[in-house]
Each structure stands twice: as structure tokens, then as C-alpha cells.
Amino acid sequence: MTLFFLALASAAGGAVYALQGPEAVAAAAGRAGGLLLRVAPIVVAAVLISGYAQALMPRETVQRWLGTGSGLRGLSLATAAGALTPGGPFAAFPLVVALLGAGAAFEVCVAFITAWSVLGLNRVIVYEIPFLGVHFVALRLLASLPLPFIAALLARPVGRWLRLGP
């Protein structure tokens, strides 16, 4: 991933140099530096919060919440749990594997992972509000609230079609 950004930055920087000259390269680099200075303290605090959230709310707690319940109540619970589950994909996907292993329905897992990715409160509070502002984030959350349920509804026929377990 780092190499990807290195390649992208070099290629785009080279193109800017060739097309618009060294002044444009310097101006863009200055812009990036300014943004970095504003963003860096937030990012450092953000990863620390994420570390604390994972230490305070271990995987087993979430797992106990979800169990095997399906239906609207199960989906709502999965959505709430997904929104509250802190941490990146390192934490979330092993949790889904554990849930599937414990007998949770596939659509419940889809609702959980969709809620984790679009509603994840950890990310909303730590990254999204500081960067994008409350108004934009409120609008996005409102538009995203139905998504875990829609994905779960679609997951049932798709799961049957692909012959995933019961």
C-alpha cells in the first residue's frame, strides 16, 4: 500500500513537473504539507482512541450480544453491534468468522459487517466529524441507516444461490 502511494505520488508529481513546471510541484507539495500538519495530530489521537476502544470492549463482549438471533430483532441488534464495534478490519473480520462458527445466520453477519463499515461510530467520531463536519456526517448517517437491513435482505437469496450453509 505504501509502495502504491509512492508510485502514485511520483507519477503524478512527474506529470505535474512536465506539464506545469517546478513551481506547480512546489505549490502542490506546500498544500500537502499544510494539510499534513493539520491532520497529523488528529490521526495520532485517533489511533490511540481506537487502541483504547479495543482494549475496553473485547471481541467476546460483542459475540455474546449477537448469538444466533435472526429476524428484525436480530438484524437490529447486529446493526447496533456493528456500529459500536471499534477497530479496523483486523478486529472485525475475525469476529465475523467467530459468529459464523457460533451458528449466526449469514444475513446477520452481513448486517453486522455493513453496519460496522458504514455506521461505525468509532470512525465517525474520530475521523469523520473532525474532517468533514457535523452537518455532512449527519446527512451521511441518515442516508446509511437502512443499508445494513437492505444488505441483509439481499444476502438471504444470494447466500441460498451460492449454497452457503443454513
Binding site: G51, A55, A143, S144
Partner: protein, 168 residues
């Protein structure tokens, strides 16, 4: 952005205080997890910001407004969804990119479609985490069930923007 920093710092203090009251006082675990997340960003974040700044310099503002602006409609939502699904990197890398797109005049519904696609489809995350842990069939099933979501979110956001703009 200052307000954002204050929010984040207050939250961090709150979490640290909570951890202080826990029996094990898991400060060390929290710091270790946080550092593990920060380490890859030390190089990646500056590079991503630099790449974004160069790309935006190459991309004229009129193009962003024409293809992703408020008036680009559902084609803009579709394009933003494709772009979001391909956008690599975690939130520390992606939100600054979105911030730049806002500055350049991208529309709200289009940006929400982009962020939704980035969060539910994120092909880099699928390859790095989901395929290895869930396996190909479950991953495919989840992706198929989630494919329409960015467009749904974009359409809903567009409707909400019109609704609030109408002053109801």
C-alpha cells in the same frame, strides 16, 4: 479542524480515564494497538496527501464539478461509487482525499456514494482481510449483497439534500 482536534482529545481523555478505572488498567495494551495502527501511516499518510495534491493539480476543478458536482446527478453517483470502491487505504488516508474533493466542488450525494462504496466494497480491504479470513464464497456473497448500497445511499442523500434545501 481545531474543533475536531478538541473533540478527539476530549474523547481520548475520557477513554484513558475509563481504562484507569478498569482492574487491569489496559493503558499498555491500548498504546500497543494504537502504535500498530499508526506505524504504517507514518510514511503512507504524507505520500497519500502528496499524491492527492498532485492529482488535484492535474485535474482541473471544472472536471470535478462536471463529473462529481451537485448537478452531475445519478451518473455522478455511479462514477463516485466506482471511484470509492477502488480507493485504497484506511480512514486516515481517505478522508483527507475527500476533503480535497469537497474543496474542488464535488456534490454531497456523490461524496456520500463515494464514502459508502469505499466503506462497504473497498477492494483493498477485501483482498487483504476479508478473503483470507472469510473465504471466497462468503466474500463473494457479501459483495453481491452490498453492491447496490453506494447507489442507494447516494440516492437517499440526494433526496435528503433536496428535502432540506426545500426548507420543509
Amino acid at each position: 479542524m481545531i474543533l475536531g482536534l478538541v473533540t478527539v482529545l476530549v474523547l481520548l481523555g475520557l477513554f484513558a480515564a475509563l481504562a484507569q478505572r478498569r482492574p487491569g488498567r489496559p493503558h499498555r495494551t491500548a498504546l500497543r494497538t494504537g502504535w500498530r495502527q499508526l506505524r504504517p501511516l507514518l510514511l503512507r499518510l504524507p505520500l497519500a496527501l502528496l499524491a492527492a495534491a498532485f492529482l488535484i493539480t492535474l485535474l482541473p476543478q471544472e472536471a470535478v464539478v462536471a463529473y462529481l458536482g451537485e448537478s452531475s446527478g445519478w451518473q455522478g453517483v455511479l462514477l463516485a461509487s466506482l471511484f470509492g470502491g477502488l480507493l485504497p487505504g484506511g480512514p486516515a488516508v481517505s478522508f483527507p482525499l475527500v476533503l480535497v474533493l469537497i474543496d474542488e466542488g464535488a456534490g454531497t450525494a456523490q461524496l456520500i456514494a463515494l464514502l459508502t462504496a469505499w466503506s462497504v466494497l473497498a477492494f483493498h480491504r477485501v483482498a487483504a482481510h476479508e478473503l483470507p479470513t472469510l473465504g471466497a464464497r462468503y466474500t463473494l456473497a457479501r459483495l453481491l449483497a452490498s453492491a447496490p448500497l453506494p447507489i442507494v445511499a447516494g440516492a437517499l442523500a440526494g433526496a435528503l439534500v433536496r428535502f432540506t434545501a426545500a426548507g420543509i
